[in-house]
């Protein structure tokens, strides 16, 4: 098959294309189980295979995908035809940053193949957790498990040939129950990075049981809690909401295609301009953020992106100053040219597609915040006069240029004079991105840092769902409006 693909690439290049690549997915499989109140509501396996072809012709992209691989010439020809049509309206001819020709392979770290575990065993795992969560106060309980595996073979007209085998595991628990006013309260647990591999070994029954017990206990605290007050306070974000803050107001805001206006039709733009790199004080000096695709064991670490560029560890914000972005080959060339200076030294290796039938676009890798020197969670709480600890994402809404946001969380713990005084429900907070990050007043040490997995990041048209990670510590921000 690879030989046939290579022949097609050469054939299309001979017709005037300046670049061609193909991603052949011999296998892309997901297996999902959802148990809701003891009912196995969904036991679903999906399997797909096919090829996606990108052609660059006179500075314009054409793309075509098909699950039918018996006649590759049709797919390649259609991609060329689409590029020719697109070339009728070009304002900035696409150029691709230099990269090495690479022959390589990548396999995500997995000790026990989760697809090798019998369905009955997987169901039994969820069933036990369901039973554990069936306690007083819990009206709805859900346990879920999502497994993914992909084999992707990438070839391009520059001589690269890369094979990737990626296995992902996601799992979660959720309980909900009504408070005294009839409002539904929710508490959730999501499986995150545990150790250096992610396979069936991630589904540790004892660990999940502890989490089930914790979220049930916290739910029952919420059911009798007071409402979150509407006022200004310090907010202390635990990793269960800090990852989302990072995702929405650093990650998406620093995708270079958004900055350059390539997502304006749908997802939106970014308040960041090319002039801002090297100058903008994005956050306080306590903030250092990076796009680290080299982190061991995360969905945001995938070896090579879908441009064939190795993943990298790129600093985005250095002690508060904006210095980098999430980038692929096309956008760095365009950004440097538009800025009339070299902002980016080559691709950051972050161009990815969710499936063979989608085109690669800039996606987050692991967008991480470096641990700080403000101690443990307990240390931060003790140093807080009037605050609230927040955890769990219940809703999120962000301005179209990522300039402002509103998050609802699952649970809040009020802090007065360095002590936790009680739980509050319906806790929300909001802010404007740059002032908010500049109000960062404490960053927890390594003991507070954990890698949160994200399995459902949406972007692009046609829309693409991507998996990635966020390594984040506990952080405190001052003078934040809560309770709206």
């Amino acid at each position: 098959m690879q030989k046939q693909i290579q022949q097609q690439i050469e054939r299309i290049m001979a017709k005037g294309a300046t670049y061609v690549d193909a991603r052949w997915y011999p296998l892309d499989e997901t297996s999902s189980l959802t148990m809701w109140n003891g009912n196995l509501k969904s036991a679903h396996t999906n399997r797909e295979s096919g090829i996606g072809v990108r052609v660059l012709y006179q500075g314009a992209w054409g793309f075509c995908a098909s699950s039918e691989t018996s006649d590759l010439a049709v797919v390649f020809e259609k991609a060329l035809e689409n590029a020719r049509a697109a070339a009728e309206r070009v304002t900035f001819p696409v150029r691709l940053a230099e990269k090495d020709s690479i022959q390589a392979s990548f396999e995500s770290p997995c000790r026990v193949d989760p697809f090798g575990v019998p369905l009955t065993e997987r169901v039994a795992f969820l069933s036990r957790l369901d039973e554990l969560m069936a306690q007083a106060g819990v009206e709805q309980r859900m346990a879920s498990m999502d497994l993914m595996r992909k084999q992707i073979i990438f070839l391009d007209s520059e001589g690269s040939q890369i094979e990737k085998r990626i296995t992902e595991v996601f799992g979660g628990l959720r309980v909900s129950g009504r408070d005294a006013q009839g409002g539904m309260q929710v508490r959730t647990f999501r499986l995150n990075r545990r150790g250096e591999t992610r396979g069936w070994e991630s589904f540790d029954p004892d660990f999940f049981a502890q989490q089930a017990e914790r979220i049930v206990r916290e739910l029952n605290e919420l059911r009798t809690a007071e409402n979150c007050p509407k006022e200004d306070r310090s907010v202390i974000l635990l990793p269960g909401i800090m990852f989302l803050q990072t995702h929405e107001t650093i990650g998406h805001a620093l995708e270079l295609d958004r900055i350059l206006g390539y997502e304006l039709a749908f997802a939106g733009g970014s308040f960041v301009t090319l002039d801002d790199f090297g100058k903008l004080r994005y956050g306080s000096e306590k903030l250092t953020a990076r796009a680290d695709g080299t982190l061991i064991n995360s969905p945001g670490s995938f070896g090579y992106d879908d441009d064939g560029v190795p993943t990298q560890n790129t600093v985005l914000i250095d002690r508060g100053i904006l210095v980098g972005a999430i980038t692929g080959r096309q956008m760095v060339e365009e950004a440097n040219a538009r800025a009339h200076r070299t902002i980016f030294n080559g691709s950051g290796g972050a161009n990815r597609a969710t499936a063979f039938y989608r085109v690669p676009i800039e996606r987050m890798t692991n967008i991480n915040i470096d641990p700080g020197q403000d101690g443990t969670l307990e240390d931060i709480v003790q140093a807080t006069e009037r605050g609230i600890i927040l955890d769990g994402d219940r809703s999120w809404s962000i301005g179209s240029n990522r300039e402002q946001f509103h998050f609802a969380t699952e649970i809040g713990w009020m802090v007065e004079d360095g002590r936790v005084t009680g739980v509050v429900k319906n806790a929300t907070y909001k802010g404007a991105t740059v002032p908010f990050w500049n109000s960062l007043s404490a960053v927890g040490d390594a003991s507070t840092w954990s890698v949160q997995f994200v399995d459902n990041c949406g972007k692009g048209q046609p829309n693409q769902i991507m998996q990635l990670g966020h390594g984040v510590p506990v952080c405190r921000f001052d003078n934040v409006r809560i309770g709206e």
Binding site: A265, G268, G269, S397, H406, K430, A432
Partner: protein, 461 residues
């Protein structure tokens, strides 16, 4: 094509029957094209032709599903998929209730929402449409973005309980045209939904864009003070709110699980404004409707709200089975929501701007990134986007920076509704997550709601 698909389904059914299986088979085929624009260029031009086969297998109270992307002639792989679904069901855990398996009592085929002319549109035609829609409007700093997404969508079904089949074929197009200022970062948009080629009207898009661009270029921009405003919501904003309401308001399953702001006690009660009437009407072709649901139940217009009075919940089959309710024909990939027009004959933004007014009115055409803050209270939050205007009482216009609304749907569609436009049109709410599945909501062009609070106001574009 239809005959080939139905023949395939009969072949798969025969295989399953011979093996003694109890299965349903769903065939989904999309032929999608998307031309995407950014920075005044075609940034992407794609085609995807994808065939998906879903198999749901039943074994007593056990069930499981296997789906695949496949080729029409790959019969062996499809049979393997059936075997795997049956194997999975065998190992699944029994449900705590009896489930209903679809029985199709007749053959049903609906191609009334399929237009060969729209299906055959070429890249060149899509590009010409866009060129016409922005003719004379682009400038060096005012750049074109947008999409022209169109395609053919086919659903077909069979199961082992009868030889009858259901077949649905539609064409659809979703067009968004955005003009955005590169430096200042303001952006305006005009959108269109089409079921047939004759629905396409680039000149209407151009007129709307021209008016908005003129406002944004010539009128002063301002940060709105926080506080309460009388707000006119545009078609996109109303459609987005209704889609959210469909999710956390009218679903019987969501209600039973505690995630609805409506309750059984409110059925027959006046909950919303008398000016609010909403029906799920599968007879409206512009909504890409399903006239039978996926359980084989014929769908009729289903009133949800009649002059503010809540009429009742929609019950999908599985929710109905679990909670002991009667299904209402809502086991469908998409509903056909139609909000009735009111009595104010205003069809365009230009007409809206010319309307006499006693107080300043904030026009919000589009709500960006709506999310549900509290489903029990129906509280949602979102930001304005794409061409908001402050229509001042003296007839002048200012351009506000974007603002955030955090409100209950009960307020947005409740007694604060001042007036509703008598002109309605389809608004395309399709999501391209995963697979093509066209949906549209028919909504009034404008709805004014008084006394809504703005909780955040940007200090720049």
């Amino acid at each position: 094509m239809k005959d080939n698909i139905l023949h395939l389904l009969q072949t798969l059914r025969a295989y399953a029957v011979e093996k003694g299986y109890l299965v349903s088979v769903i065939y989904h085929e999309e032929d999608s094209s998307l031309m995407r624009f950014a920075n005044s260029a075609v940034s992407l031009n794609t085609n995807e032709h994808i065939i998906r086969l879903g198999v749901e297998a039943y074994d007593g109270r056990r069930r499981a599903e296997y789906s695949m992307i496949t080729g029409l002639d790959d019969l062996d792989e499809m049979k393997r998929g059936i075997d795997l679904a049956v194997e999975m069901a065998h190992h699944a855990q029994p449900l705590g209730y009896d489930m209903t398996i679809p029985v199709f009592k007749q053959d049903f085929a609906d191609e009334s929402a399929f237009d060969p002319a729209l299906a055959a549109m070429s890249s060149e035609e899509r590009l010409a449409f866009f060129n016409q829609a922005v003719a004379g409007l682009e400038e060096e700093e005012l750049l074109l973005s947008g999409i022209f997404s169109s395609g053919v969508n086919i659903w077909a079904q069979i199961n082992t309980l009868s030889e009858h089949t259901q077949y649905f074929q539609t064409t659809d197009a979703q067009i968004s045209v955005v003009l955005a200022h590169r430096q200042l970062k303001w952006e305006v948009t005009a959108e269109q939904s089409a079921q047939q080629k004759a629905d396409l009207n680039p000149e209407a898009l151009r007129r709307e864009l021209a008016f908005l661009v003129r406002c944004y270029k010539e009128q002063p921009a301002m940060q709105l003070p926080l506080g309460t405003y009388d707000i006119v919501l545009g078609q996109a904003a109303v459609a987005d709110l209704l889609s959210t309401m469909n999710w956390i308001g009218f679903s019987g399953g969501a209600y039973k699980r505690g995630f609805s702001f409506l309750s059984e006690e409110q059925v027959g009660q006046k909950v919303f404004s008398e000016q609010f009437t909403l029906v799920d009407d599968p007879n409206r072709r512009e909504t890409f409707p399903f006239r039978f649901d996926f359980m084989g139940m014929e769908r009729q217009p289903f009133p949800l709200v009649q002059k503010g009075v809540f009429q009742g919940f929609m019950w999908m089959q599985d929710d109905a089975d679990e909670f002991g309710m009667k299904p209402t024909g809502h086991t469908v990939p998409a509903r056909s929501l139609v909000m009735a027009g009111g009595d104010v004959p205003v069809a365009t933004v230009e007409e809206l701007a010319r309307m006499p007014r006693e107080r300043d009115v904030l026009y919000i055409p589009f709500l960006h990134y709506m999310n549900i803050v509290n489903p029990s209270q129906g509280v949602v939050t979102a930001s304005s986007r794409f061409g908001a205007l402050l229509l001042k009482r003296d007839g002048s216009i200012a351009v506000p920076y974007n603002v955030r609304l955090t409100q209950s749907l009960l307020d947005l569609f409740g007694e604060r509704v001042a007036w509703v436009s008598s002109v309605t049109a389809p608004y395309n709410t399709s999501s391209s997550y995963g697979e093509r599945n066209p949906t549209a909501v028919i909504v009034p062009m404008f709805m004014q709601v008084n006394g809504l609070e703005i909780s955040h106001s940007n200090s720049s574009y």
